[in-house]
């Protein structure tokens, strides 16, 4: 399927990096809502709907999609620059599963009908996707998932439960990994299914997280009828489909930007409290400062690989481990620095500095769990990079 681009965009890939960077900066300065800069919690659809539609209206919503499908068609190098600038500006993540996951997956594995139906609706903000992978008994061991899809005429009947489904309550659609062959070995019996969240038999219950926000959900499926036409990539091919994650996402999860921002907040608070005259504090602070500076060096090394258009190997897992664990250590020092305020939720004015000490501390806990826990990442590195026996 091919259609003419709706919006005439300049040829970004023909720009040099500095020109493109300036273009992105100007766009963000002009269009991004100030109140949404550097928010820690996940933005809800009600927060970012306008921003999503602004991006959509300018043709900037899907930087990773090719032009023929209405994307920006950025090459990997320009993609990294866009991500860097978004991070620098503190741009919140929009509900992007349609753009980052479903769209590219449909382009790669989907039928023409699926492409024609789903892709434009993602761009228009009509379809908001959530990811239904984890289950109560399938977390790190995702391949042991048990939500099943049984053929029934032209449909599947889906029964089971998904959990930790981020922003499911904002989603119009959910993409699922379901078991379609109980006899096959684990990964081999899994299929990838597109599901309308409004289908009868689906119940979505938000779960309040440690930070007090309702960002993830439980999703129950009770005899939910899903057309077999919604299967992507063929029966029992779900694991392969789901694993096709793009290089720039895998590097982005280890970006130093978030810890750098936390470091700035800590620096402001510590300065207001006169702690830079305390050699004990300066020593602790500098350890973290260099942990993050060195993370930036490591990140740049991997980002360069992506920019050259090369595939990243499994070694990129180390970036996520170090970024998230350094971020955690930083939020721990933030808590310590806040002294008695280190147990008070919400925004505070401590010695004249506006700071929320608990939110970063809470969200940093999740950083070593989602997207493959630190322990899983270490398993991956041990097996595929160090080639240790299992």
């Amino acid at each position: 399927m091919k259609s003419e681009p709706i919006i005439a965009l300049p040829d970004f890939n023909a720009m040099n990096d500095d020109e493109f960077r300036a273009e992105v900066r100007a766009f963000l300065e002009k269009h991004y809502p100030q109140r949404l800069r550097n928010i820690l919690r996940r933005a809800r659809w009600s927060d970012v709907k306008d921003w999503y539609l602004t991006l959509s209206g300018h043709g900037w919503l899907a930087p990773n999609w090719p032009r023929e499908h209405g994307g920006m068609g950025l090459d990997a190098g320009k993609m990294m620059i866009l991500l860097e600038e978004q991070e620098r500006h503190g741009v919140a993540r929009v509900p992007d599963h349609g753009i980052v996951q479903v769209g590219p997956i449909i382009m790669k594995y989907g039928t023409d009908e699926q492409k024609k139906y789903y892709l434009p609706k993602i761009l228009a903000g009509q379809h908001i996707w959530a990811q239904g992978y984890s289950e109560p008994n399938a977390g790190s061991d995702l391949a042991s998932l048990r939500t099943e899809a049984v053929p029934d005429g032209a449909d599947f009947i889906v029964n089971g439960q998904k959990i930790w489904t981020t922003l499911a309550h904002d989603a119009t659609h959910i993409y699922l990994l379901v078991r379609t062959d109980k006899q096959a070995k684990k990964q081999a019996g899994i299929s990838f299914l597109l599901v309308d969240a409004k289908a009868p038999g689906i119940t979505i219950r938000p779960i309040r997280n440690l930070a007090g926000h309702e960002e993830f959900c439980e999703v129950f499926f009770e005899n939910v009828r899903v057309p077999q036409a919604n299967l992507v990539g063929g029966l029992n091919q779900g694991w392969t489909v789901a694993k096709a994650l793009l290089s720039f996402e895998r590097v982005n999860i280890g970006s130093p930007r978030r810890p750098q921002y936390a470091l700035q907040r800590l620096e402001q608070l510590a300065r207001a409290k006169g702690l830079f005259d305390d050699p004990g504090f300066v020593d602790k602070f500098t350890v973290l400062r260099l942990d993050i500076a060195d993370l930036a060096s490591l990140y740049t090394r991997y980002a360069e690989v992506v920019k050259r258009g090369e595939e990243l190997g499994q070694e990129v897992s180390m970036l996520k481990i170090w970024a998230m664990e350094a971020w955690q250590r930083l939020t721990e020092l933030l808590l310590e620095t806040a002294q008695e305020y280190g147990c008070v939720p919400g925004g505070l004015a401590i010695d004249g500095v506006e700071v929320d000490v608990l939110s970063p501390f809470y969200y940093a806990r999740a950083g070593t769990i989602y997207g493959g826990s630190s322990e899983i990442q270490r398993n991956i590195l041990a097996k595929y990079v160090l080639k240790l026996p299992s």
Partner: protein, 358 residues
């Protein structure tokens, strides 16, 4: 245990003076290694930090005892930045040819990295200078043909060339963990001719600072070589050592430990690469100093941690003198302590780069 044969020479030379072999040094001269950083006009190759780091990392990974970084990078670096053209010619040509091994005698007190913190005095005396004072922690002092000595003149800090056999210059050697030596140089009315002033007060401080900073980077490369070998050995051992009927590398506690060490190695290598690129550019001295401290801090910390944990991964055999992993720990210890350990360089970095420049 068989790998021990590779390091036979290293073991044999431990604790002997000068602790290395002049024949090997001569070979290094023939390879051109001694002239990597020396400008072509003095017979060197005029290459950069990148090339020096490759050679130093490789030799350190093989635990080579020859004083490459001390003589070529530190002392040679100070000589090359002096402002006495004739003396530079003489010394650098000797260095490149392998005929003269210089050592830099600049530091006096432990934990002080300021090149200007010098009590040693050089008083004008007839057509010469009379030097008095004491220098400490001199790397590559054993076997050195002479010393580049920093001293205060009435006009400010200067560098002098003091030949090893100068009357009034007394060297004694302090044995190090890795079997090499550090020198202590006592100067009591040691007289050097005026033309032995290598760097006048106009050049001395900057020359010392620059030599120190590039040596920190190369020491980082050496530490990376050492930690890399120690970690590779440990990972190999984890694949072959069987206990409870399984290779010990299959135990998650050990596998995760090895991964954490690998991350430290990769962080070290990433910072080193960034720093080398900076040093081979026209970046200013302040940025060089800051990055040099970042490298020395990370590589010292990672080098010590990896070699320490390599002992633990190997178990009892790691605690023996005959097994090689101990040699790596001890080289990491000397390299980490040299020119400021991790804690000292973190402080130096904090002083060089104010915290609001994040």
């Amino acid at each position: 245990m068989t790998r021990g044969t590779d390091l036979k020479r290293v073991r044999r030379l431990r604790g002997t003076r000068p602790g290395f072999e002049r024949a090997v040094w001569q070979q290094m001269a023939e390879f051109g290694w001694l002239g990597i950083l020396v400008p072509e006009q003095y017979g060197g190759l005029g290459l950069g930090c990148a090339e020096m780091a490759v050679v130093a990392g490789g030799t350190a990974g093989a635990l080579t005892p020859e004083p490459l970084s001390a003589a070529v990078v530190l002392a040679g670096g100070a000589i090359a930045r002096g402002d006495n053209a004739d003396l530079k010619h003489e010394l650098l040509e000797g260095l490149v040819a392998g005929k003269l091994i210089p050592a830099l005698a600049w530091q006096e007190r432990a934990g002080i990295l300021d090149p200007g913190a010098v009590s040693t005095r050089a008083e004008p005396f007839e057509a010469a200078f009379k030097l008095n004072g004491g220098k400490n922690f001199i790397a590559g002092a054993a076997g050195a043909g002479g010393f580049v000595v920093s001293a205060q003149t009435p006009e400010g800090l200067a560098l002098f060339w003091v030949a090893a056999d100068t009357a009034g210059a007394t060297l004694d050697l302090l044995p190090l963990a890795d079997g090499r030596f550090m020198g202590r140089l006592q100067l009591s009315d040691a007289v050097v001719a005026q033309d032995r002033m290598l760097a006048s007060p106009a050049a001395a401080h900057a020359a010392l600072q620059a030599a120190l900073d590039i040596t920190l980077v190369i020491a980082g490369a050496e530490l990376l070589g050492v930690m890399g070998r120690a970690l590779d050995m440990s990972i190999d051992y984890m694949k072959t050592r069987v206990q409870f009927g399984r290779p010990i590398g299959s135990f998650q506690a050990l596998a995760h430990r090895a991964v954490d060490l690998h991350i430290q190695r990769e962080l070290s290598s990433a910072v080193l690469d960034d720093t080398i690129a900076l040093f081979d550019s026209d970046a200013d001295a302040a940025r060089r100093s800051a990055m040099a401290s970042r490298v020395k801090a990370r590589c010292s910390e990672a080098g010590l941690r990896i070699t320490r944990e390599a002992i633990q991964i190997h178990g009892a055999i790691g605690f023996t003198d005959e097994y090689d992993v101990a040699l790596y720990l001890k080289r990491a210890m000397t390299l980490s302590a040299w020119l400021g350990n991790a804690a000292l360089h973190r402080r130096r970095y904090a002083q060089l780069v104010p915290s609001d420049e994040i």
